[in-house]
Structures are given as structure tokens and as C-alpha cells.
Amino acid sequence: MEILRVENLCKSYQMGEVEVKALTDASFSVEKGEFVVVLGPSGSGKSTLLNIIGGMDSPTSGKVFFKDEEITGFDDKKLTEYRRKRVGFVFQYYNVMANLTAEENVELAMEIVENPLPIDEVIEAVGLSSRRDHFPSQLSGGEQQRVSIARAIAKNPELLLCDEPTGALDYNTGISIMALLSKLNREMGKTLIVITHNSDIALMADRVIRMRSGQIIENTVNENPINAEEIKW
């Protein structure tokens, strides 16, 4: 079943005289439960694409459908609701609230939705059971990223969007985060879209979208995705 459809999406920024085309005519669709990896060099428009899909930004033209609803036609209020109920975001810099503990950070997101996942289950799933009362300053980068993943999934969203979730982590920690994400994808059935620079990660995905200069240059289905652990060499 198709959960997301992107149609002829364009986004351009006017910088004085010049027009910067961040996204040109991007079209693709994502099946429910799919693990999608978006690959591409810096400045190719990956974040722009993900932000529009996540209801954080609006396109210059084109449409995005979530299930049957066209989110590109939403007003501010409906977009906020879409972000709250449908989407979980994970950013490159584990953006957790500094004055809340790991657990409280997760609860911060849970408080605004009706059917959150049980907190213990979420914390258990990201492997932070022994760290739940620690403040971000007492956690490592990888642990902080786990907190933000827990925060994203605790709302029990249908769509999990991750913008370079391993970008600030070392290789091994990155792999373990990817393993966590793919586990959540497989076990909880969350549709997962991950932006990365690392083409190894693409081996884990069901679908790989390659971008360059704001355009989608390749959209392939990976018949045999491998486990995160197998990426290690």
C-alpha cells in the first residue's frame, strides 16, 4: 500500500538576483513499511525534500500526498497536526532538550499525542533503560541520538524521517543507530526514510533514491537488503 507520493516537487530560493533551485521536478512514491534511503552529495536537495515531506517546509510547486491527503495544501494548523500525529523526526545533531532527562525528552513528545507507545517499551527498544534519568550532558553522542529516536517513535508515527542520523557519530555508533532504525522498521512496521552520505547504508534499504543538483537521478528497489551488522567489514 502506498503511504507517500511525491509529484513534480520543486523548491527554489531567491537569493537576490540569482534563483537557487534546491529541488527540481522530484517524483516518487513510498510503500507502507518501506525502508527508503536517500543518497546524494552535499547541496543536492536531500534535506529540502525531507523537510517538505515532513510538513516543515512548503514547495514552490508540486504536490506531496500522505495516504489520500495532499499535505502541500495544508494550512499551518493542519501541518502542525500532521507533524504531531503522523511524523517522527530525527536530525543530524541529536537535538534533545538540554534541561530534560532522557525519559523526559521522550515524554515531551508523548504529551501531545493521543496514543503514544508505552514509555518503557520505547526506552527499552532504543537501549536506554539504564540511562533514562540522565541529562543530555551526561550522555554520549550516540546515546543522545537514541534519545531523539525514542522521542520520534514514542508518538507512534506512521512515518519516521531521519536527516543524516549518523552524520555526527563515529562509524560503529552509526552502524548501531542504523541497526536500531531498521529494527524499528521491521518490528514496528514504521515507514522509514533516511538521508545519508554513506552508500554502505543504502545496502540495508528496500529502496534507494539518489539525488544530484536537486534532481532524483535514480530510484531503485533493493531486492536483498542486508542487516546492519553485516555492513561491518
Binding site: 517546509d57 494548523k77 497536526e81 507533524r83 511524523v87 536530525f91 534541561n99 530534560l100 515531551l108
Partner: protein
Amino acid sequence: MTKMDLMLVRMIKNSKSQFLAVLIIIITGICVYTSMSMASANLSDTLDTYYEENRFPHLFVQVLGVPVQVAERLERVEGVGKVTGSLVMDVPVLTEDTEKRKTLRLITIKGDEQELSRSTLLSGRALSDNRKEIWLINQYAKANGIKAGDEIRVQISGADYTMEVAGIVANPEYIYLLESSQSIMPDDEGFGIGYLKEPLGRLIVDEGQNYNYIRIEYEPGAKEEALIEAVEAQLKPYGIISSVKREDQLSNAMIQEELLNLRRLSDSLPLLFLFVAGFILMMILSRMVKKDRLKIGILKAIGYDNQQILLHYVKYAVMAGLAGGLLGSTLGMALAGAMTKLYLEFFNLPLLTVNFDITYIFKAMFLAALFCLISGVVGARGVLKIAPSESMREEPPKKGKRILLERVHFLWKRFSFSRKLVMKNVFRNKKRTAFVISGVALTYGMILFTVTMPSVVDQMMNLHFTEFQKMDYNIGFYKPVDERAVRDLYHIIPIDHAEGKIEYPFELSRGHREVTVNILGLKKDTQFYSFKDTSNRMISMPERGILLSENLAKTLKAEKGDLIRIRSLLTEKEDVEIPVAGVVKQSLGMNLKSMRAQLSGLEASYAMAKETVSKNKILYEQGVLSRQEYDRAVTAERELAAQISSPAIFY
């Protein structure tokens, strides 16, 4: 508690000093508000109670002399509840100190419970009927170190009297102890009130069975204007010098003015503090929002909406407001007690209980919260502009336009690098610069005002006494004396020049406008008074016509050449119409709190100034008339004119 609130609480904990700074300003403002409002409310209450308990009258009539029976008959006038008559006489006090002139106003009392303007005995004993003793007003006793049991020596009609001070009292008519509306400041050392039993008074004053001062208390629901008219009609044959309503009674008017100022101050001063606190809060919040850009972006990405995030920051402000309001008003309450006592002491009000009205706490908290809410919303409104996707990026720096000053090359060249930076900052952030400048200006203005005010007043007084009124000394007579008395003065003391003047109240009217003012009658060639017209040219006494002070001219809407109707309050004479010969400047006529009373006489020129009652304010205004005109206006007959030429001025 929601996690958002938890974040807020921890944030406040982490930046306590910042929160405290805001809190202190709010506390100060609210403390000032509560203490001043409560003190002024307490003071009014106290005053009302005092007036009620001591039967402070509604109407005060000064007459030349009215028989006791006539005065008593006034109680039959519709609306009059109670009448108390007195003999009043200002007499010199005889002391060792020859430098300082001291005057005691002797006022007779009945000594019963029912009489109006009853004194409160502060120390000493009741007056006995057959001894030569008086009660002395508290302020004078204190200033001169006189206690109950001491003796005081006065001169009455040329004879010395030694009287025992039986007690020290406070009286509602002299809470603010001023000799007359011409006195500049209360002079507790030089002017006091002595109360004596009526029989003793009659013995030494020798006024027969007359009163020269009548006080009237109204019945509830009395119609004041009609009542006054009826009373004045009955007293007219005996010469009304003045009839003053309660609101215009000198002491009461001064106190009400003081209360009004206190109320005004308690309304405006705290606002100033709250504005400052609000502004600081606004700055803090807008900086906080800027700093929290990423955090706000993430909250929005998670799904928090604008209101929730805005509220988060506004709560910070409102918490400061509520906490400051509660602490400030509690502190203010504590202070209000002390402040009320201070005021009561200052006004010599013997008293009473201090009320603590807790509604002030709620009022204060509401006020503080409201201010903080507004500044919170204004300060944190930046939240709305933060787009979640944008917040993840660096904020683009403000475009560095060239500032105007840079184009002034020869100046700009001279600036050091750091000064250039400062200049650029000043010019780029225009709003902030404007705010800082106005804040500094306001502060300096307030300081300068308080520092220079006394010298400005000095200057006005100086101007008044050197330019408009040049006499060194005034001698007032108890009764009008013949003009020959002025000539006699030359034989008694060595003087350069002396001239007489007359001063009596008249009712001036033009159309439906009318005022009662004292009119001063001067000699045509007066050397003591000089006048300037509104464009600052010296003018001399006119052959015919009346000179009006600016205020008076305004009140009557009269200009040079207009006819003014003048009615005597002392005699049953026909009204006279006199043309306005000019409008003259007054240097001191403005509404200055403590000085107001005395200004009257000063400024004008040749005529005289006097309080007039307009609505509920006392204005000091004046009209000037040449001596001949005065005579013509008041008394067609020359003999009466001679009689009223009473006070002589000389130097």
C-alpha cells in the same frame, strides 16, 4: 506538570539572577503601588472619621460681627443642622525673642460635646469656666516647646494677658496650619491657634454679644446652593467677609490636594516601574527566543503549535509578574502601616486604626500579571516567525548597510575601529537606540527636575517680591482705619515711604460667569506694586477700570474693554459696572502644591489677588482697581471708603 513547564522551571532555576532582577523591579513597583494606595486610602478614611467625630462643618462664614441670636436663628434655615459661632481674633504673642513675630489666633469655644469643629485634647485638661486659660494647638506648642501647664503671654487691644495653657489640642480646621491663603508655608513657630471659653473671650475681646465666625453643619440631603443663599441673605446686613464651603476651607483644601497628589503619585509611579520591568522582560524574552531558535524549531517539528510555544515563554513573564505582585504587595502592606503613620504625623491627625485591605494584593497581582503578560507576548512574539526547517540552519546575519555617518568622511576617518563598531551598532539598531536614549533622558529629566525645582520656585518668589511687590513690610489692621493712620506712621517710625491699600472680597460677574475674589484697591501712584501686561510691557494704574490677572480674565472670559459687574459682599450697595482696563501677568499664579496658597497676593500688581472658588478647585486670581474706582465701586459715599482703607504698606 507538563514537560514544557518542567523545562520552564529548570530554566528559571538555571538563570536565577536574571529572574531575580526582573522580580526586584516588579516588587519595587508593586510595593510602591500598594503602600501608597493603602496609605492614601487609610489617610482619607482617617480624615473622614476625624472630620465626622469632631463635627467638621460644611460651611464657614466670616462676618464683621453678627449678634448671637441672629447666628442661632440660622439653624432654622432649611437644610442647616447645627450652627456654632465663635469670636476669632489674631493677637501678637509676647516673647523674649524680638526678631520673630508670633501670632496667636484666639478662637472661642463653647466647650460642649455638640459644638462644631470640636478639638481633640491630646494632653492636659479641660478648660474651666472661670480661669484665664487656653488650649493651644499641637503644631504651635510643639514648635515652641510649650507644654500643658506652661504660660503664654499675648497682647490684646494694647493690654498684656498671661494665660495658662491648660491643654494641647488638635483641631480639624487647622490640620494644615496656615494663617491665611496668603501664607506661603505653614509656620508652626510663628502662627498658632488658641482656644478659649466664650465668656473669657468676650471679656478680653470686647465684641459685645457678637460672633465674627460662623460654622454650619448641613442636614443630610441639604441643598447647598440654596442654603448658602439663604444664610448669606440673613447675614448680609452684618457684613459677610467670606463664606467658604468645606471643600474650599484652607486646611481641608490643602489636605485634599495632598491626598490627590498622593493618589496621583501612587497611580503613576508604580506604572513607571512596571513599564521598566515590562520592557526588561520583553528584552529578556526576545533574546531568549533568539537564543532558543533551534529548540523552538525542534518543538515545532515534534508537533507543538505556536500558541503552546508562545505560552511557554509568556508563562515566564507571568510567573515573574505574579511572584513580584505577591511579594511586592505583601511588602507594600507592611510598609503602608509605617507610611500611614508618617502621614498622620505629618498632618497632625490624632489617630486611629490602620486598615489592611487585602483586595490591594489582588489588584497588585492582577496589575503586575497584566503588564508581564503583555510584555511577555510582545517579547516572545518572535516565536511565531521561526519556521522549523529554517531554524535548523544558521540565521543569516543582518545586512550591514552603510550608516549615514560613514559618508561624513572627515569625521569617520578619525574614529578608532572600536568606536566605528559602536557607531554602527547605534545606527543599525534604531529602535533599541531610541529606547535607550529616551530611558536615559527620562531619568535625567527626573533628576534635574527635583534638583532645579527649588531654585525655580526661588526665582519666582524673587521676581514676585522684587518686581511686582516691593514693600518690605505689611501692617494689617483688625478693623479698617482712616487714611490718616498712614501719615501718622511717618511720625511713629522712620520710614521712606508708606501707602495704604484696601482689600475686600467682591463678586465679579460677566454674563453667567461669576467668581468671588478679593479685590485690592491701590493708590494711583503706588510705588509698591507694578504690573506687566501679557506681552511683558509695564503698565501703570489706569485712570478708570479694573486690572484682571490672567487667570481671572480667563475665568470670566473677559478682555480689555469688557464691562465687569461688581457686587459688594459687605454692604447692600447697588452693583457697579467697571470696564477692564487691562490683563496683567502673574509670576506666581500657577498651581503649585505647597506654594499655591500664598501666591495670590504676589503677582499682580496693583490690585489684589484672592482665591476664588470654581467648581472644586481653588484658583488664586486677582483683580486690580484704582483706588478711586474702588471707592466708587464699593461705596458711593466717601465716608465708607475712608473706613475701608485699612491695611497700610510701608518700607
